[in-house]
């Protein structure tokens, strides 16, 4: 269980988060939606302390990760996998080495076992035989798959997905969503997805939260969220220019 309590974050005078409260249930996929620049990625980066708040707490399994020392934070981070918006694969390594990287750096596994695990993960994300290529040599969709394989390789309890379908065509986007659902069924991780791929992202979401004006405006199970009468949710889902949400 991840619990976000009264989270505030300010960047150069711009208050992005203004007291966010959110519970993320274990074993479920929670999607955070919101307008561009609403602070979704900022909130996501607080969940594994890539950013630290000005005020507030993030509890992971009851521990406030904003107050952990370096060693304890590193232990905590090993519970997380992250799929970054651009996949963030290390340019200087092949896809195979990228996926093997966390195992080589953070475990004492032998090279034979690492090879077996990496090939298994690459096969699960549909990249069998592509491990020898460098990130610059593959498409955006393949990079996302490789990023997902890297996030999955240490079998984390929690995976954070930052805009997993941004920059992909609808077919590739659907294939990434299907892959996330399939991997979730296989590994049973807790997923947090930040996306504005609406309504496609609802297919993979157990719960949806909407971030607006620096706070969580609405949160609930997907069906309940979609049927919400909250004017901000209605405006966002219907894409109306008129309403309580300011459109810049």
């Amino acid at each position: 269980m991840i619990r976000v309590i009264d989270l505030y974050k300010n960047f150069a005078g711009h208050q992005v988060l203004k007291g966010v409260n959110l519970d993320i249930e274990t074993g479920k996929i929670t999607t955070i939606i919101g307008g561009s620049g609403s602070g979704k990625t900022v909130l996501l980066k607080h969940l594994n302390a890539l950013l630290l708040p000005d005020r507030g707490s993030v509890l992971v399994d009851g521990k406030d990760i904003t107050k952990l020392g370096e060693s304890a934070l590193n232990d905590m981070r090993q519970k997380f996998g992250v799929l970054f918006q651009g996949a963030a694969l290390l340019d200087s390594m092949t896809i195979f080495d990228n996926v093997a990287f966390p195992l080589r750096e953070k475990t004492t596994l032998g090279e034979g076992e690492i090879r077996q695990r990496v090939e298994e993960r690459l096969a699960q994300v549909g990249l069998s035989g592509m491990g020898y290529k460098y990130p610059a040599e593959v498409s955006g969709g393949m990079k996302k798959r490789a990023g997902l394989a890297r996030a999955l390789v240490i079998e984390p309890q929690i995976i954070l997905f930052d805009e997993p379908t941004t920059g992909l065509d609808p077919l590739l986007g659907k294939s990434i969503h299907d892959l996330i659902r399939k991997m979730h069924a296989t590994f049973g991780f807790t997923g947090v997805v930040v996306s504005h791929d609406i309504p496609a992202v609802f297919r993979i979401s157990d719960r949806v939260a909407m971030l607006a004006n620096g706070v969580i405006a609405e949160v609930g199970p997907t069906e309940q969220f979609v049927a919400s009468a909250n004017p901000m949710v209605r405006q966002f889902l219907q894409g109306d220019a008129e309403g309580p949400l300011a459109v810049l």
């Binding site: 594994n48 232990d75 981070r77 997380f80 992250v82 963030a88 694969l89 340019d91």
Partner: protein, 256 residues
């Protein structure tokens, strides 16, 4: 008036904070060197990048610097009938000053800029965040090995620059302009002492530190925007050049 004073204060404070962050970055990089596991494979890889990849440009610039010194030295010394001191003048100029400084400039342009651009790209494309998220400290993984590699590779490159430069001047002075080969090397032997060699090498070690520190710091902290990488690269090269010259003055004044 108050506005101007406030602006000057703000700029000064910002620069002081920036310098403080830079020094903390360097201290952190050194602290990570001594924390296991050692990254020997990465250090060797970066020695190759800094040393081997800069070798051609260092050899080329060393050769032409020596040749120019041979020409200029010959025409200056001939006015005093002192052509036989050419070897001595060239060796002292190269070993004490030109070798360390010019090879440092070459390495900054060839490898330092690439270092800043690579780390800047990693910052902008969230690869550094990815390392943090995998519980891998990016300073230990990306910065410390480069700094150690710079400390090792820079004096080696400077030594090569010096040797090539001395032979470049030999080619012009002895083979082309007719200075006696014996007097060229005898003058050198008679006037160059061990302090001239090690003071130059000591300079080159400190320049290796300056280049890797500045370029890694600027790249690592590149602003996360489209122009961030180019800005970091330009700043790293300019700041490295300036710091090399300023530090060279202080070291020279101490070691003379």
């Amino acid at each position: 008036m108050l506005f101007i004073v406030r602006q000057i204060g703000a700029v000064t404070t910002a620069h002081l904070f920036g310098m403080g962050r830079g020094f903390l970055f360097l201290l952190s990089a050194f602290a990570w060197v001594f924390r296991p596991p050692a990254k020997l494979r990465l250090i060797v890889k970066h020695i190759k990048e800094i040393g081997v990849d800069s070798l051609s440009v260092v050899v080329l610039s060393g050769a032409f610097t020596g040749m120019v010194l041979g020409l200029q030295g010959y025409y200056s010394l001939r006015k005093f009938n002192a052509e036989s001191w050419l070897g001595s003048a060239v060796a002292l100029a190269l070993l004490r000053e030109l070798g360390p400084v010019l090879s440092a400039f070459m390495v900054t342009g060839r490898t330092g800029s690439a270092m800043a651009a690579e780390l800047g790209t990693m910052r902008v494309t969230e690869q550094i965040d990815a390392l943090y998220s995998m519980a891998i400290n990016p300073v230990k993984y990306l910065v410390s090995p480069r700094i150690i590699a710079g400390l090792i590779a820079m004096p080696l490159l400077t030594s090569i620059f010096n040797v090539v430069g001395i032979y470049g001047a030999f080619l012009i002075g002895v083979e082309l302009l007719g200075v006696s080969s014996g007097s060229y090397f005898a003058g050198m032997e008679g006037s160059v002492v061990f302090q001239d060699v090690y003071s130059g090498l000591l300079k080159s070690v400190s320049f290796g530190l300056i280049i890797t520190w500045v370029c890694c710091y600027k790249g690592f902290n590149a602003p996360p925007m489209a122009t961030g990488v180019s800005q970091a690269t330009t700043e790293s090269v300019v700041l490295s050049f300036v710091l090399i010259l300023v530090w060279d003055y202080f070291l020279t004044s101490i070691m003379l």
